[in-house]
Symmetry: C2
Subunit: 341 residues, 2 copies
DNA sequence: AAAAATCTGATTTACGTACATCAGAAATGG
DNA sequence: CCATTTCTGATGTACGTAAATCAGATTTTT
């Protein structure tokens, strides 16, 4: 049987009340007594029964999810996953609230974070826009003792407790190798479509992509990045323009969202050229395009996993528990026609 | 606040004891009363607090993991993950025991399963050898009301509650497409190394591989399958033999374990030919080979995820709860040089 | 209609922890 | 050395559910 608080009390030769004071760092215990209890805890290997503790506390974790108000499939999917978590929340003793802020707007995000300080939620998850003011706002929350995790896109140099998202440099590198190898030894231009260089995930993907391209596929040259702000219409216009102006494009890497527009542009041009295309994020649109051959591979991060991981980590931090690192590593999914879920 | 048993009692106009009888399907409740209570439960949306219930029951789930005694890195890794779960088990109210049985031996596996019937564990997880006697033994356990999940390799036509492993047909298809595209339009032979056609996962990978090869890469022809029984030495001998005898081999697909031997054979031949190689299972050996260029891509299933998923599912089944399907889907990882964890 | 069987209600204890209260002990101050 | 402060023990209640007991109410059987 697992040891309980009673066992600690017996082992340390003190009363239950004293054990409780030590365990919950309440005042009123002499230093020597405290040490005696702590030794006993270590020796018999006591681990607090979190379920019983939460039951006794009547605790519910109140978490806040901050998501960007972006009109693309990926963010809709992320929102849906957060909502699914909200639906499950009563069972899991959590009370999750979402907060929408304008996309790519550091000031609005920082303001939202500061508002939360007074609320003192049990944890905050956010899709970060990588800017100093956001970082500072996050650090203030952390200073207040509120667990913070970033989701999808990380925050440079901040004190956030955890990042629930993929390694975007690796994602960019992987995209480059796939594109390079799929193209065999062909020479030509590669177009890159991004959302915005303001978010760290897009910057990192480009960085990784460019590195491998330069190292290993010197026959391919990257054209200046197209920033479509994750907006389908904007992406469509810019990509169509690039394709008609530059005849040497043989490959496309779409590292952000707004792929609906990209796909439309590709289909319009498909009569006159064959392109190898790697895109990010599996949505209804990209899935169809993968199946019909418009896209050759999709790199994906599972938003559901990210949301659930973020919640697990927030819970663990709120309880002062450790997390299983391997379990919380968000993996980069590579989808070809054949292994779609 | 979440409704409790007291709320049901009040809503249905019965006593707590009656609610308890209904909830835990104990006898002693008239049909009409039972329905009244069930209606109340539905109407106020009561969900049993599993944590409190387990606390009250003092329940610990005793699970058994049956793993094959195979001397290859993948099975060692699987074993290590099970051991890690065992180490965590007291915290999670589980009591996990492992049972080793000879690999590829349906009779031994069936016998082990039958032994468990008398023990009545709260759940059983096994790496299945796909044979009728194993299926029947599993079905007997299921008939006894014991939750059973297969891990890594599934069991055809059985009543097992869940399969915690990848879609192996999709894995084979993915391997074929990667190999075909990496080879550009080249023509030649492809060698396939398997463990044994007795396990369903290997059969399915081959099936998927062959299908895509035939459909999409007619220039590549598959040589007769080499069965290395997941044994490094045997694999080394057979592959070395094939490479020296057949001069037309330009690609290799290793769909089982025992890659240590494969890699050795490949390195011995690497002076005279360039091969494109796709292998399964990320281990120290395959990782090194991927990084040094001996292997071009690794398809992997995360043994840790499979073990944790199996435990979550067993727990849920034991509690009569539903599982989050998307969370329990085991994904096929594709690793290139650039996205190794 | 009486006896037996079946159902239902009321009440209590337990699980492991949190938290509060109150009394008594030990340490510290003057 | 007494008064005060600080520590410690004993005890009880609560969280939501499980499970047991016993008494009383219905229904069914004879």
């Amino acid at each position: 049987m697992r040891p309980t608080v009673h066992d600690i009390a017996a082992a340390a030769g003190v009363s239950l009340a004293t054990v409780d004071r030590v365990l919950n760092q309440r005042p009123g215990v002499r230093h020597v007594t405290r040490e005696k209890v702590e030794t006993a805890i270590r020796e018999i290997g006591y681990v607090r029964d979190v379920a019983a503790a939460n039951l006794a506390k009547g605790r519910t974790y109140s978490f806040v999810f901050i998501v960007p108000a972006s009109d693309n499939s990926f963010m809709h999917g992320l929102n849906a996953e957060v909502m699914a978590a909200v639906a499950r929340s009563p069972v899991e003793r959590t009370d999750i609230r979402t907060l929408e802020v304008p996309a790519f707007d550091p000031t609005a995000l920082a303001a939202a974070l500061d508002t939360l300080r007074s609320e003192r939620p049990a944890g905050v998850a956010l899709v970060a826009t990588d800017a100093p003011e956001v970082r500072d706002a996050v650090d203030r929350l952390v200073q207040d003792g509120i667990p913070v995790v970033t989701v999808v896109s990380d925050l440079t140099g901040s004190q956030r407790h955890h990042y629930a998202g993929v390694d975007n440099i690796a994602a960019g590198r992987t995209a480059a190798r796939l594109l390079g190898r799929f193209l065999g030894g062909a020479k030509g231009d590669v177009a890159v479509l991004a959302g915005s260089m303001l978010v760290r995930d897009h910057r990192e993907r480009l960085e990784g992509f460019a590195a491998v391209m330069a190292e290993e596929f010197p026959g391919l040259s990257i054209l200046p990045v197209i920033e479509g702000r994750d907006d389908p219409d904007m992406a469509h216009m810019l990509v169509a323009d690039a394709l008609s102006k530059r005849g040497g494009i043989i490959g496309v890497y779409s590292l952000g969202a707004g792929n609906r527009g990209l796909i439309r542009a590709l289909k319009e041009k498909s009569v006159d050229r064959a392109l190898t295309v790697i895109a990010h994020e599996l949505t209804d649109h990209t899935r169809t395009a993968l199946l019909d051959g418009t896209i050759d591979a999709i790199l994906n991060q599972d938003a559901g996993h990210e949301v659930r991981s973020a919640i697990r980590v927030l819970k663990a931090k709120a309880d002062g528990l450790s997390v299983i690192d391997a379990q919380e590593r968000i993996r980069l999914d590579i989808f070809l026609k054949d292994n779609l879920p």
